[in-house]
Amino acid sequence: MKTAVLVDGTRTPLLKAGTVPGLTAVELGSAVVRGLQKRPAMFGFPVQDLIEEVVGANIGNQVLAPDGSNVTRLIMLNAGFPLGITARTININCASGLHAALDAAKDIELGLVKGALVVGVEVMSDYIAVYRREQREAFAALAMASRSKDPAIKKMANQLKLLAKVKTMPHDPIWMVSAGLTDPSCDMRMDKISDHIAKVWGISRQEQDLFAMESQRRATRAQASGRLAKEITPFSRDARFGVFAKDNGIRPDTTLEKLSRLKPIYPYGTVTPGNASQITDGAVALLLMEEEYAKSLGLKARAVISSRNSGAYGCEPTMMGLGPVGAVKQVLDRTGLTLKDFSVIEAHEAFATVVLAQSRAFASKEYCAKLGLGEPMGDLAFEVTNVNGGAVALGHPLAASGARLLLTCVHELEERNEENGLVALCAAGGLGEALAIQRRKQ
């Protein structure tokens, strides 16, 4: 079997939804692909010549309009790649970005392709809204009546009758941002699930706020020190909008006091906008290649992305955040490493509760016994977890997040000159995916 490695990657800044008016997934996705091409490491290496497929990750923009049902193909065409290169879009909710990378890695490992481009993109500000079923039916009936061959007078009466049934006011569509974040299996929105997790695992509001504050503080520090800029390609559309070079969800002026004054989303709940991740637009591009092929071209292999070092697991959908625990268990089984061996851990902060609950589950004898372990997996070391802040501070562009964590993890391993990193994401539906990354020391 061949080895897949990360050659290079970049991301756009994570922009709060609404920052760029009229932004589409194709625009942002194409921008990040162009950004990858402009990276110093890619000088003289046209990406389109290195790859045979593009694996995209997206959740909400590919439903239908405006970005079609396979947004990755659109991005690829928009970037001017040869038509022969294939493209597909992966969706397993928030873990999509990581899964797309693993999917590409598998193709490389099998020898099907020698290089693949992974594009995780999510423009949450471009989510559509749709008519409810009753309204759709009323519209359909009206359209049917318009087409009938009845005499005009009868037809008109019929049309008027049906028009009266179409409720135009109040116009109450289903917003996809909200619907997309609701798990239909339990009919709970993600923030409600987070509240539920907090209750089951006894995670207090203070603890969540502390965690959120720490995320903000670390992100602020990383932004100020220029650490975040290393992975970002600034995004610009035209002179009128200027250049967006920084993640703009970070709040450097927030304090724990301000966070603790926020009103919970649900009455008597603990989840607030302050300790949950944000609605964000963002895109990530990663170039994966077969190691020997990359070396023969003179490209540096930065980290091994091996599908054999990954894990995927599911738990109850109402305990959405705990999926990664089982996935990490699989990773540890497959790699023979323990939690202590990872020098950098990127755990997806969908909510502050999620990571806190995971850390408790890792250390809990009962929970680990349920996964078939005799001993708990150990403590999640917060000093190496999300050292540059997480989605609570930076924002969470759903399908891009997995690829973003992978990119951040590799950068941080290089920054610290360490070898082993771990990326773990939870996904709606109770799923979790995890991957142990091995940095290739140069």
Binding site: S204, Q206, E207, D209, L210, M213, E214, R217, T220, R221, A224, T255, L256, E257, S260, S359, A363, D379, A381, F382, E383
Partner: protein, 676 residues
């Protein structure tokens, strides 16, 4: 006196003279020694002699962090008993002031760094002032805290420059001004970036010269006597008397001197000199200067037979309660990284807010820039939950958990598993014996007591005590941290429970409780608790005993008293004979809002009559009896102090210093034992 040139003058092409003030490379601060004043006077004579060749003069310090820290207290103290010498000294100084004031060319002070006491007075007599806009620049007149008054023209010049009301804040209220404050107060004319300080000062001198072109003699803005000033002064006097009970006569002398500021400068200076001499003769001045030097000695004394070691690079604080968070902040102030751990996220939550608020306050007060505050905040790592692993990277740990031997044993055993083999662990115990605590710790030689006082980030004193097995290294390491935090250490030669301050203070509290309750049969009548407090406060204690009990909380007080009663049988009244204050859970002192006083916003508002139900029955007022009780309580405390000396724990001077710094125990009387 070595031949050191304190003032170095150089002139530029435009005949602008810059006077550099430097007390030499061996000293951190510039001080106005008498020799320095003499040389300044001579330099001024030279400049005045060739006044046509001088366009302007800028006075600047060669040390960017210290313009001038004021007079040399040592010199003043050595002269204190010789009024004539002091008088001459002041006469000479005042002559110099007038020389500067009446110079035919403008003189501007360019202030960067500390500008205290005599230094500020020198700056004020100049015709203009420019301050460097950095957090290091501070202005203050701290003389009254030493029991003396500003004697170098400060009482005259400050009210002229900023007005009487604001001058009172600085001289009597001991307010410290940042560069921004000084500009708002109109104490300085301009702010400048540090690099442009001198050029800005030259520009200011030019402006002044243009403005005063037609005037032959430059003089300060003399104000008309206004009726308002008299009212302000009399109100200030009343306030001082009410707050200090006349224990700090220096404040009143300062008022007297300031009342003369509307008169011509020469006359005002004469009054100031007289008041300064009067003031210097008081016991308080001598005592306060003594305390100043005791503190200095405590900070420089070689407490332990071990070469000095480096300050820890990362300090762990175990327990984020009121003490823990204060200690964490104090360590952060030394720019040392802190890992603050507590099992409960609630405690960490409160501690993080506490630290963020204090940092914000520092920024507001101009002591830190926003970047510095952010940097300091980033030094703090917090951890909670069951695992002590986050403390693994620390190289010094201060333990501030519950005052219970069993709990401490458990925590220390757990803690040791995470730490390196040479990491010192210090316990912030207030009333337990270090030997008893160390039983739970596998490396006793790396263990000692390091006791902070509440609020830990404010209080200056740190008591340090080893148990018999403590290595000198552990003490030296603890001292290094204390020094980095800019606190005053007192190291006990032998351990004892309660260390110095609490061992004595527990007598103060227990016996006060004993005498306000009528349960005891020896006393014919109990004393009114509020009278007792008042009498002690009149003696110069920062806080009466019962107010202190309120502040500690009845439950904790009871716990500490029981602990101390075990260690020192016979020293304290029997617990059974003390009033039971734990009956009413809504009345446990300041934290519940009710105790011996009713508390609002952390201040005692008025006596709480309900407490009498617990003390019952109440006796009539009797001043004579109260005085006897005060004497009796003082006697108990002095006896305890004497025992400390007899046991060889510590010397009398350091007992006094500890009581002053740790318990606010009448510095005007030089602490508990006083002058020997």
């Amino acid at each position: 006196m070595s031949e050191h040139r304190f003032w170095k003058a150089d002139a530029d092409d435009d005949r602008n003279v810059v006077l550099h003030f430097d007390c030499g490379p061996d000293t951190r601060q510039n001080t106005l020694k008498s020799e320095a004043l003499k040389q300044l006077s001579e330099t001024m004579d030279v400049l005045l002699g060739k006044c046509h060749d001088v366009n302007s003069v800028v006075i600047v310090s060669a040390k960017p962090d210290s313009f001038c820290a004021g007079a040399d207290i040592g010199e003043i103290k050595s002269m204190a008993n010789n009024s004539a010498a002091v008088g001459n000294f002041l006469d000479e100084a005042h002559k110099l002031l007038l020389k500067i004031r009446r110079a035919p060319f403008p003189i501007v002070a360019a202030v960067s760094g500390e500008c205290l006491g005599g230094g500020l007075e020198l700056a004020m007599i100049c015709h203009g002032r420019v301050a460097a806009d950095t957090p290091r620049t501070r202005f203050a007149l701290p003389e009254t805290s030493l029991g003396i008054i500003p004697g170098f023209g400060g009482t005259q010049m400050l009210p002229r420059l900023v007005g009487l009301q604001k001058a009172l804040e600085v001289i009597v209220g001991q307010k410290k001004l940042s560069a921004g404050d000084a500009l708002r107060y109109k104490l300085v004319d301009r702010l400048a970036m540090p690099a442009e300080l001198v050029s800005e000062a030259k520009k200011l001198a030019e402006t002044i010269r243009e403005r005063d072109k037609d005037r032959w003699v430059r003089r300060g803005v003399e104000r008309l006597p206004v009726i308002g000033n008299a009212i302000v002064l009399s109100m200030a006097r009343k306030k001082i008397l009410k707050e200090t009970h006349g224990n700090y006569p220096a404040l009143l002398y300062a008022l007297d001197a300031m009342s003369q500021f509307v008169r011509p400068l020469e006359a005002g200076l004469r009054t100031e000199k007289q008041k300064f001499l009067d003031c210097l003769n008081t016991d308080q001045a001598k005592n306060l200067m003594d305390v100043f030097f005791l503190r200095k000695e405590a900070r420089s004394r070689k407490w332990v037979d071990h070469p000095s070691v480096e300050c820890p690079k990362c300090v762990g604080v175990l327990g984020a309660g009121v003490m823990g968070r204060g200690i964490a902040y104090a360590v952060l102030s030394a720019n040392v990284p802190v890992v603050l751990y507590d099992p409960y996220p609630q405690a960490i939550h409160a501690a993080v807010i506490f630290v963020a608020k204090l940092l914000m306050k520092e920024v507001k007060r101009g002591k830190l820039t926003v970047e510095q505050a952010m940097k300091r905040r980033n030094l703090l790592t917090t951890a909670w939950g069951t695992s002590l692993r986050p403390l693994a990277k620390t190289d010094f740990v201060i333990e501030a958990v519950l005052e219970d031997v069993a709990v401490k044993h458990k925590v220390l055993a757990e803690l040791d598993k995470q730490l390196g083999r040479d990491v010192v662990v210090a316990t912030n115990t207030s009333s337990l014996l270090p030997s008893d605590i160390v039983e739970g710790f596998p490396r006793p030689e790396y263990f000692c007591a390091m006791h902070f006082f509440n609020p830990a980030h404010v209080m200056d004193l740190v008591e340090i005590a080893g148990h018999p097995g403590t290595s000198p290294y552990a003490i030296a390491r603890t001292l290094a941290l204390t020094k980095a935090m800019n606190k005053t250490p007192v190291v006990l030669k032998k351990e004892c429970s309660g260390l110095i301050v609490n061992r004595i203070l527990i007598n103060y509290l227990a016996w006060a409780l004993f005498y306000v309750s009528r349960k005891n049969s020896d006393a014919e009548a109990a004393v009114n608790p509020w009278d007792l407090d008042r009498m002690f406060e009149r003696m110069g204690m920062m806080m009466g005993p019962l107010k202190t009990v309120d502040l500690i909380g009845f439950d904790i007080g009871q716990h500490v008293m029981e602990l101390s009663a075990n260690y020192y049988p016979g020293h304290l009244p029997e617990i059974s004979r003390l009033p039971n204050l734990l009956k009413d859970k809504t009345m446990l002192g300041q934290k519940t809002g009710k105790g011996f006083y009713l508390w609002q916003n952390n201040k005692p508002v008025k006596p709480n009559a309900d407490i009498l139900n617990l003390l019952q029955p109440m006796a009539s007022l009797d001043d004579e009896w109260a005085r006897l009780v005060v004497g009796a309580i003082m006697g108990k405390m002095k006896k305890e102090a004497q025992e400390l000396i007899d046991e060889g724990v510590i010397d009398a001077d350091m007992i006094d210093l500890s009581m002053i710094l740790g318990a606010g125990f009448s510095p005007g009387r030089r602490g508990l034992l006083g002058r020997v």
